[in-house]
Symmetry: C2
Subunit: 206 residues, 2 copies
């Protein structure tokens, strides 16, 4: 099936709606108004309606959306993310922590291998994820057709490692290194900078 071309931010919000719908289904809720769903997702109702228009769902005034149908329409538009293999590069404190984070697997992502310049086996103990030396990374990516990577190396090494990832065939990087990566246009990067999240919050404290 041909994918619908969606704006980047709409993709992100559709993932959030999907998450909310999932929770509604778990609670056996069958229909939801655009106002309620927008509130749960933290967006304006007009934004929600626009985004749902992308996936061909327009709701019925007074009736709201059928939770099941809407969830299926979003899944069809986003494509299945089930069992997408991911590698993690940089098994320091944060990387080691991310390997223990159960949220990824819950959402259908499996971290199938991790890499570090100095592979210390203790750091992956109990995670079930194998740890390999960094020099094996490119071959591994190619031979396992890995398309996604989580990057948690120090900022000074992030660009070099990103170049290797891209060269080997990675198309999407979740970047935890506090630096902005320079990648080709067809590679997608989401940045998560935890310190900046806190810093930008602290401004609003009276």
């Amino acid at each position: 099936m041909q994918k619908i071309e969606l704006p980047r931010k709409a993709v992100y919000r559709l993932s959030v709606y999907q998450r909310c719908l999932q929770r509604l289904r778990e609670n056996d809720v069958e229909t939801v108004s655009s106002e309620a769903l927008a509130k749960a997702a933290g967006v304006k109702p007009t934004q929600l309606r626009k985004d749902l228009g992308y996936v061909g769902q327009f709701g019925t005034r007074g009736l709201g959306y059928n939770v099941e149908t809407l969830a299926e329409a979003i899944t069809a538009a986003l494509g299945s993310t089930r069992l997408q293999p991911v590698i993690l590069v940089g098994v320091g404190n944060l990387g080691s922590a991310l390997l223990r984070y159960s949220g990824f697997r819950k959402e259908g992502f499996e971290v199938i291998a991790s890499f570090d310049r100095y592979p210390i086996k203790d750091r992956v103990k109990g995670t079930g994820v194998p740890l390999h030396p960094a020099e094996e990374m490119e071959d591994y990516i190619a031979s396992h057709a890995v398309k996604m990577a989580i990057l948690a190396v120090p900022a000074t090494e992030a660009q070099t490692v990103a170049n290797q990832l891209v060269r080997a065939g990675v198309q999407a990087i979740l970047n935890f290194s506090p630096t902005v990566l320079d990648v080709p246009e067809n590679v997608y990067v989401n940045n998560v900078d935890l310190a900046i999240e806190l810093e930008s919050l602290s401004y609003f404290i009276r």
Copy 2:
């Protein structure tokens, strides 16, 4: 000093610029063009120039910005974030990992205490951060004038805990629980949903 009223997203981007300038200073770079700084921060030059206008810095055509002066102007506008005390609630896998993440302290945030319904001391071993039972949280916030909290409890408990935080005086929450929090208007929340970050990336993989 009266704080300038800045839009939320501008605050976030100013923090990113500050981070880039910091790196330039470490490398003894004295001036930077708006194009180079914009690229390093991952924004468009027009956006950068607009944001720097908020802090009264307009650069000089052909000369660029003085790194030192610009960094000081941003610090003055954002206010010092040094030694802002933070608590962490929910010491599961992710919470325990966040306590070991050195990036917060590096940026001037000190996690002074952690809380969990079932305080298992092993989870904070080696972090130097004390762990208290959840029922002591509200008193602690009030007596230590804590204004910021990192929330890493399960989604089902996040709203209840957020209500307690707000009631006790917390004004800013960095939320790692995969749920949207309903808080009063004067409370600021930044959401970090790691699974959604991955999920929204996976759409772009061919």
